[in-house]
Symmetry: C2
Subunit: 369 residues, 2 copies
């Protein structure tokens, strides 16, 4: 199958353009190297060894993961310096401890005093718990609110705890996902960076120095100059990008490395629709109501909209006028650019990798938690 054109694949199938992946990874590496900031790429979008190798330029060091399953998967494949950037879950403290005792550097994250107590109750047999404090800097998900007095107190408590090191302060600017255009990205990136840097000053004032890290593909693709004052950044989606990122302004549509291959499997003249073999099992339901072309962009067919999906079917209709079915005989290949690559990748047990449209291999992601 290697060397065959991607059109030889049965559909639906997720295909990844490895040249775009390498280019996206290289550009991100270069950008942050020039800014003097450590790039700690996030693995959550793809969850594969091969793509991790590209993102880390083969070092297998200095990554972020979103699940313990990813942490174990990468550790099992020789990765180290892994940050499990998820408020340390109480049911997984023991597994985290085992990983921390096994790796040179396994780092966790927390945003609550009770989590710190959990770590203290399970001292490591060697080394320290390396702990990032998660700060909510107007993102509105995990993290202790930057302006709460508890944020500083918790940092101090981590710093002062025996067997525990305050490694850094971590913020995710996921609120860049509601941006449209570079100016808005800059504004959110500036706000997050400023809030984190102000917090670092507060820490300094009480005698604490540690690292700082912010993330999100939009801010790390379109950085502001103050981000050079951070220790690390931790974007992930950028290695694939997607329609959403192009709408936000992180990239152009040409940078998007992933597609779902799909075929026409039905003609429905009574509804002026086509059916394709791409349901939500192949694309996910992410992106509903976000694009004029529906749940995705159908490459080379700006006149078509992916109107709705059920488990294994997608309904496609023209934006205007009547479908000319002779243009889309059954079996016609339609190439879909996903709205959200993280959500689409999650649906696929295997990714088909190509270079210039010729298959070069497969990547198998890890799954579960």
């Amino acid at each position: 199958m290697e060397g065959d054109p991607i059109s030889s694949l049965c559909s639906p199938a997720m295909v990844v353009d490895v040249d775009k992946v390498k280019r996206n990874a290289e550009k991100m590496r270069e950008r942050w190297s020039n800014l003097g900031v450590t790039l700690r790429p996030h693995m959550k979008t793809h969850k594969t060894i091969e793509c991790g190798d590209i993102m880390t330029a083969g070092s297998r060091r200095c990554i972020v993961v979103s699940t313990l399953a990813e942490a174990c998967f990468y550790a099992d494949h020789g990765y180290d310096d892994i940050l499990y950037a998820y408020s340390v879950p109480f049911d997984k403290v023991e597994q985290c401890a085992v990983l921390a005792e096994r790796l040179s550097l396994f780092q966790v994250l927390l945003d609550h005093r009770d989590a710190l107590d959990q770590l203290r109750k399970r001292p490591l047999t060697r080394g320290l718990w390396h702990v990032w404090l998660k700060l909510d800097c107007a993102n509105g998900r995990a993290g202790v609110l930057h302006s709460e007095p508890e944020a500083l107190r918790l940092a101090q408590a981590i710093f002062e705890s025996e067997g525990v090191e305050l490694t850094g302060v971590y913020a995710h600017c996921g609120n860049t996902y509601s941006c449209k255009g570079v100016e808005q990205i800059h504004s959110v990136a500036q706000e997050t960076t400023t809030l984190v840097l102000q917090f670092m000053e507060k820490l300094k004032a009480v005698g604490i120095t540690c690292k700082s890290s912010i993330g999100s593909t939009p801010s790390c693709s379109q950085p502001i100059s103050d981000m050079a004052k951070l220790s690390e950044v931790h974007p992930g989606n950028y290695v694939f990008y997607d329609v959403q990122q192009s709408v936000i302004g992180s990239c152009s549509l040409e940078d998007v490395a992933v597609r779902v291959l799909s075929r026409v499997i039905g003609h429905c003249p009574h509804r002026n629709q086509l059916l394709i073999d791409c349901g939500w099992t192949a694309l996910s339901l992410d992106g509903a109501g976000k694009l004029p072309t529906g749940f995705a962009v159908i490459e080379g067919h700006p006149e078509l909209r992916l109107l709705s999906m059920t488990q294994e079917h997608g309904r496609v209709e023209p934006l205007l006028g009547q479908l000319d079915y002779s243009q889309y005989p059954l079996g016609t290949l339609l190439t879909i650019i996903p709205y959200h690559a993280c959500a689409t990748a999650m649906m696929h047990p295997v990714y088909y990798i190509h270079s210039a449209g010729r298959l070069v291999g497969k990547w198998i992601p890890t799954r579960g938690w």
Copy 2:
């Protein structure tokens, strides 16, 4: 781990109450046995051997599948009489032929003359292509429209083709999914049944007799008497059921056999929210905007709403008033009843099976296409 309480599982995890599964399967079997109609259960919701065995009462015969991957998976485990109920995709004709030559009875489905041509171009080395004609009876997805003259002509063409048998007429009344209550289900079931039976009469008038089948969990859970005139029914979701089915009127919430176990991982007093470790990777995004309690029902907590999800986080807020965080310490287990079991099951590489809350095993679904 067998015998342990489900609360010993790390979260998120999908758990299945095997007693409810057996009861749902048994009730459906009994209902259709009493009506004298063959029950051909659909495997698409769970895609596991173990649940298929329960649905077929151990016969491993007479099933429907939605993907060729399922067909091969079940065939590899000794299943036979498999109906691949998906407009035969042109990229998989050869694989279908191989399966048809290997099994005693492998059946396909089509709704277009070009698909018939594809089958005729690949005559089987033994036996016939067993073909169901897919009819769209106001459902609005796959199928040739019942009222189109082409429907009858296509049935005749299948019937007259060498090497091909017209096995039956197949309609999916997925439009029952917009029903609220038994009366509305009955109305859609009646319409679909009547249209199929009228089509069978038209066939008879031109000298053709074959089977008839309609499906959907709502209509097969709340049948109308005319459905006894059909040869087969083909529901699938009923073995798990879900919140959606309880809202439609197919079942009560007590019949729902699946849950996602989740834990509180964050307190966000500045937003009056909790965070749980159930993002869309564990639940899917199906059900957005459908329930007053958000994306799902949190069992035993009618006062809580699952407001939104990102990849690994769920945001939970009270329907009214202020959260009392002392009621939900970090680590608290919250049990989530999914809106759409098919979509939730798809997200899990393993299902944890329990009886009365004690673990009895794991089921591993097949994936891909």
